[in-house]
């Protein structure tokens, strides 16, 4: 049965833990693997590209099995049709942009005129035509990234791997390049596996997000799913929501009491026993006087830290629960807040999401 799906199942012992992943990526799909540095993301990519060998498992790129520990298949990297964009882009410094992009086609002995026209159309598509005769040393980070991408997709690989494609860029160009990269990846039509430690990248670039922790994929879902139900502190830290683990008390009240350490949160739920609780920083109301509002959850605390999120301000409040709140600059100004101010934070019971 012909298939365009890339299937990855592999096991490998790394220095501090085992790499153990199992996932599929359809052609045209962008799967983002997100996790902290040292979670084994790059090792997984290297195994798929054949630069490293897993101990067991099976890797299929479409119909092509490139690794299978049972039937002892281990195709050499130069024969796997995998495009790889390295974290540092790894452009050949002694070749021009044009020669870099055409390298793979020449290595596979494609006719010269085919190579030339393919390279030209790629340079056109990525809008680096003007740079064709420049050397990589003369390019900006964003330009280098596009050259690396063009080089990796020139032979129309079955799968495209990108290792932290935005990590080498400065923050100003990053946002712009990220959007461009997203549009490009969607147009490619190959299976894309992108690895990043930055949740912002994952959010913009991929529909499907795979969260990787210590060599394992601990969570998989769309951004919305991860945002609404983080289910682990790790995911919550990535998405930036308030997250606690506690116990839901059984009882008849409609908003149920959930005990989190010393504090109690009210939430609308049918669950009982151990639960995880989360709410968005933007659902937190901050005031300097006791609001006595309809919100069931009001805590008094000290502002520990204020940081700028661009258009919004993020407060870290030391209440009985540590709470992160996002407020507008207007609200910040009118409340005359600063670090050390005593504030009340309020969260509506309906804003608190509870999951198992």
């Amino acid at each position: 049965m012909p298939s365009d799906t890339t299937t990855v199942r592999l096991h490998k012992t790394l220095r501090h833990f085992d790499l153990d992943v199992d996932f599929e990526v359809a052609a045209g799909e962008v799967a983002v693997v997100v996790g902290p540095s040292g979670a084994g993301k790059t090792s997984a990519l290297n195994c798929i590209a054949g630069l490293d060998s897993p101990e067991s498992g099976r890797i299929r790129l479409g119909d092509h099995t490139v690794f299978d520990s049972l039937s002892r298949v281990d195709v050499r990297p130069e024969q796997r049709e995998v495009g790889y964009v390295f974290q540092d882009y790894a452009l050949f410094p002694h070749l021009t942009v044009r020669s870099n992009v055409g390298y793979g086609l020449r290595a596979r002995h494609r006719p010269a005129d085919e190579t030339r026209s393919r390279v030209d159309s790629l340079l056109e598509m990525l809008r680096i035509r003007d740079l064709a005769d420049a050397y990589p040393g003369a390019l900006s980070g964003g330009e280098q990234q596009r050259v690396a991408l063009a080089r990796a997709v020139a032979m129309l690989p079955k799968a495209l791997l990108l290792d932290e494609p935005l990590a080498a860029l400065d923050t100003t160009s990053r946002r712009h390049v990220r959007r461009e990269l997203r549009d490009l990846l969607r147009r490619l039509g190959t299976a894309v596996i992108l690895v990043t430690h930055d949740y912002e990248d994952a959010l913009v670039l991929g529909r499907r997000i795979l969260v990787m922790e210590r060599g394992r994929i601990s969570r998989e879902g769309t951004h919305e799913e991860l945002l609404l139900h983080p289910r682990s502190r790790f995911v919550a830290d990535f998405t930036g929501v308030n997250y606690y683990e506690g116990t839901a008390e059984s009882g008849g009240d409609k908003p149920r009491r959930i005990r989190v350490g010393e504090a109690v949160l009210h939430a609308v739920t049918d669950l009982e026993g151990p639960v995880s609780v989360s709410f968005f920083p933007s659902d937190v109301t901050v005031s300097t006087v006791d609001p006595r509002s309809s919100a069931r959850n009001v805590f008094r605390g000290l502002v520990r830290e204020v940081s700028n999120l661009g258009g919004r301000l993020r407060l870290q409040v030391d209440a009985p629960l540590p709470v992160v709140a996002d407020i507008t600059p207007d609200a910040y100004g009118s409340l005359a807040l600063s670090e050390g101010t005593t504030v009340y934070v309020a969260i509506k019971a309906t804003s608190v999401r509870v999951s198992e």
Binding site: A49, G50, L51, P77, E78, Q79, R80, V82, G83, Y84, F86, D88, A90, L91, F92, P93, H94, L95, Y103, G104, A107, R108, A134, Y135, P136, G137, A138, L139, R151, A152, M155
Partner: protein, 307 residues
Amino acid sequence: MSTGPVTTAAAGEPLPEDGPGAASPPAPSRRSLLSLAGVAVTLAFAAFLVLPLAALYFHAPLKVLKSAECCWLVQQALLLSLVTSLITTALTFLVGTPVAYTLARTPFRGRRFVEALVELPLTLPPVVAGVALLLVFGRRGYLGAYLEQAGLGISFTQTAVVMAQFVVASPYYIKAATGAFAMVPENLLRASCTLGAGPCRRLFTVILPLCRRGLLAGLAMTWARAIGEFGATIMFAGSFPGRTQTMPLAILATMNENLHAGIVLAVVMLTVCLLVFVVARRLLQPTLDPFMRRAAGRAAGGRDRAL
């Protein structure tokens, strides 16, 4: 790899964020005493090197060169020196390149030991190397005796001249080439791998182009060491005019009879070496590499944009 032009561009670039005082390059008047002392020592050292060479030219009684005997000597010795040193250099390239590549990129048991062994001749007095060669390849040497029987006697032939030069001079190339091969970024090789290039293509399209300067510099050093070889040659190959008497040996032999002729030979040799030195330096200029030049240009261009 030299980053000369890049650093120059960066150093000359005033950062707009800094205050005016911090931005301007250090004024000559602010030079410290220590750096002045450094300049003085450097100039003195350069003078110490150049003065004797200048004296050679100043003193050379070039008309001696016109005498038939001297002329013949110079021609023979110079030709022999050039031919043997070039053969040694070519041989070093052929043998030394795989050795250096293996030492730099193929891990095997005892690699560090072999690396040390290969570098040993750098510190070994050439005379000792000559004696050792004689012991093995000489007429009554361990291997030499058999070779002699087979009619392949080596000692006191031009082959011996090349062997003596090879032992003494090849480690310079191997050391330089090992360094160059080890500097090739692993990621470039991995990239070329995923792009479908096999080992051979990787060697010719990535490794060798990136190491070109390092290899050429190593070859130049080896050639210079080979043409100047004296101790090992006189021990192992002897000093037979027209057969094994290279320029350095000819200089010594002539000096013993006729000081002026010796000086003339020295001047001829110095001139040849200076010519090669100038050409090699030009060839190895980092600015001659297109991608280096672009990188340097970028440092300057980047500044323009920033301002």
